[in-house]
């Protein structure tokens, strides 16, 4: 291997080497973090909701005032239940992939005065769990006497259900049953753990931080109706439901963006995520292209500049392969130096993102992926100039520069 003399030669071109290594370092830092975000977004678009997506239809109403809500909730639930192919109806405050309605700060330590954590509180009536198809993994469902009217934005209830994954984050290694959750002046206790309950607006790093509290339909909870329908009937039921509401409830406004078969709401919700991921892939591609062009530019310049030197090396015994390897190893070393710095930068960038956007720290396994991509990119970019260098004939050595 010729590593030592290549390093020695690079020392004589410190500035150019430093600049290209820094370009790689920046590319590495951005690439690792961007890859992380893209992968997490793609993963999110396949998020499991914990509910029966394809058998649910959401009806969301806008501008329902409290006076209207008192009897609208029970009445509309009744009417929606009578639509053919509707198996059950739940009244709630929010639907997955709809607007969040119960985001609140809370604390789990009664002695800690600060509300450190935020989660989404689903409010649901007695049909909520059955309609959505939730699965209980421990504890119990709500009892009939636990359903209370909504006061403010939460019911004066004393119990709640929690998503299993979220429970394990809140109380790692502990049984969540019976644990307190304190919101404003209310204290809830966990009575059951459901296998999964996605929050209305799942994000890459907060998909299931949600609680379910028992509430009575009426004041404060008459805007969202979830319909469990027979298989393949979601579209038909949704059409009938909207027709019924238009006909029978002229005073309410259907929120079209938050109404429809849940699969459609899901698609609409992730359309944004997908376009974001595509845009980031575009940014990554542009970044890699710029880095590659930088390498091609510098390598081409160096090949041109070292033409006679290459001729001399050929004259004193280097084969074409030796020359090719020289430029490949040189590129490997420069890119490698950039990658080492880039890995540190990637963590610094990740720490900044973590502060600004509450993202978790970049997992370490993205670093070798980023390094591999950049090394391959470097080798690909240098191949053309290196081949041109290898084609320099030895007789060039005799031509004075």
């Amino acid at each position: 291997m010729q590593i030592a003399p290549i390093l020695a030669a690079l020392k004589k071109h410190r500035m150019a080497t430093f600049l290209i290594a820094m370009e790689i370092a920046l590319a590495c830092a951005v690439l690792c973090n961007a890859l992380y975000l893209v992968v997490e977004r793609v993963r999110l678009s396949h998020v499991e909701t914990g509910v029966d997506d394809d058998r649910l239809v959401a009806i969301s109403l806008a501008g329902v005032d409290d006076a209207q809500a008192v009897d609208l909730g029970p009445r509309l639930r009744q009417k929606l239940s009578s639509i053919p192919n509707v198996e059950s109806v739940a009244v709630a405050n929010a639907t997955p992939f709809g607007p969040q309605a119960g985001e609140a700060g809370f604390r789990i330590d009664p002695n800690d005065p600060v509300y450190r954590i935020q989660a989404h509180f689903y409010l649901g009536d007695a049909g909520f769990a059955k309609t959505l198809g939730l699965r209980l993994v421990s504890g119990r469902w709500f009892t009939a006497d636990e359903y209370a009217p909504v006061d403010g934005f939460l019911p004066k209830a004393s119990s709640l259900l929690v998503d299993a994954d979220y429970a394990s984050k809140l109380w790692p290694g502990q049984n969540p049953l019976g644990k307190p959750v304190l919101v404003t002046n209310l204290t809830f206790r966990v009575v059951g753990v459901v296998a999964r309950m996605v929050r209305p607006n799942p994000s890459p790093f907060a998909a299931t931080n949600s609680f379910i509290t028992p509430a009575l339909a009426g004041k404060g909870m008459a805007s969202v109706y979830l319909l469990r329908v027979a298989p393949e009937k979601a579209q038909d039921v949704f059409a009938r439901a909207t027709a019924m509401i238009t006909r029978d409830e002229p005073s309410v406004i259907l929120d079209a963006t938050a109404s429809g078969p849940l699969t459609q709401l899901r698609d609409a919700y992730f359309a944004n995520t997908r376009s974001m991921a595509i845009m980031m892939v575009g940014v990554i591609a542009a970044l890699l292209l710029v880095s590659a062009l930088g390498i091609v530019g510098l390598a081409s310049f160096w090949v041109q500049q070292r033409r006679q030197q290459i001729g001399i090396r050929r004259a004193i015994g280097a084969t074409r392969r030796d020359i090719l390897h020289y430029f490949q190893i040189e590129n490997f070393l420069i890119v490698g130096g950039g990658i080492v710095v880039g890995m540190v930068l990637a963590y610094v960038l990740s720490a900044v993102l973590m502060k600004l956007y509450e993202l978790p720290l970049l997992p370490a396994y993205y670093l070798p992926y980023g390094a591999l991509i950049l090394w391959l990119l470097g080798q690909l970019a240098v191949l053309g100039p290196a081949r041109r260098a290898a084609a320099v004939p030895p007789v060039v050595a005799t031509r004075n520069a």
Binding site: G317, R320, V395
Partner: protein
């Protein structure tokens, strides 16, 4: 050692064929010190590049150390250049980015030699040219004469069978040129075969044998009127 028979080198363009060498014959024996002389454009550098396998030729045969080289592929030619030939160029042709030690090491690395042996050979050849103390210097920090000595050390480090020198003192002042020439003579006395291209008759006179090239052919000096003119001007020692 080096034998060319009816060798020709033609440069072709779409409209014209130019003979750089034509029916070129030369035979250099092992241990000889031969000076190839001739005016500018006579073909002596072309001869040297072909002799050193830096270029291919168009016709005829060339045997180097008993091997007919025209059939060799690029890799085999590289290997022969590396193992059997040592080059000394007019412009020294050191690699400016590498220090003296690393410059001498270059051909040995291409040979795949082990580090310990490389180091021993490098130091031996640098001592031979009197520059062992400058091993860590870069070419730009040396005088022209010293640079040429480093180039000679590089050529000698691989123990070549043949040393090819192209105007080795052409870029040096008289004193440095004398030093380099004395070094070449000393190397020759130790048994090396040296072929030196020069247009300097004084330098050529110090070789064992002169081969004169005119218009791409080896000629008898007695037939070259320019040589006689130089003799009359007292510039050639016979």
């Amino acid at each position: 050692m080096l034998k060319m028979t009816h060798l020709s080198k033609v440069y072709r363009t779409e409209v014209v064929e130019t003979y750089a060498l034509r029916d070129f014959n030369i035979d250099v024996n092992e241990g000889e010190f031969v000076a190839v002389t001739g005016p500018s454009g006579s073909g002596k550098t072309t001869f040297l590049t072909i002799a050193g396998l830096l270029e291919t030729f168009t016709g005829g045969t060339y045997h180097l150390d008993g091997v007919e080289v025209s059939k060799l592929d690029d890799n085999a030619r590289s290997r022969i250049r590396n193992e059997k030939i040592g080059f000394i160029f007019q412009a020294f042709n050191l690699i400016p980015d590498l220090n003296v030690f690393d410059n001498v090491e270059v051909p040995l690395r291409y040979r795949g030699m082990k580090a310990a042996e490389r180091k021993q050979r490098i130091m031996e050849s640098l001592e031979r040219v009197g520059l062992a103390s400058r091993a860590k210097h870069y070419p730009a920090e040396l005088s022209g004469g010293q640079q040429q000595r480093v180039a000679i050390a590089r050529a000698l480090a691989g123990s070549p069978r043949l040393l090819l020198a192209d105007e080795p003192t052409g870029n040096l002042d008289t004193q440095m040129a004398r030093g380099v020439m004395e070094l070449l003579e000393e190397i020759h006395r130790e048994g090396a075969t040296i072929v030196m291209v020069t247009h300097d008759p004084e330098l050529a006179a110090r070789a064992q044998r002169n081969v004169h090239v005119i218009d791409g052919q080896v000629v008898d000096l007695a037939e070259d009127p320019r040589f006689h003119a130089q003799v009359q001007a007292g510039r050639v020692n016979i």
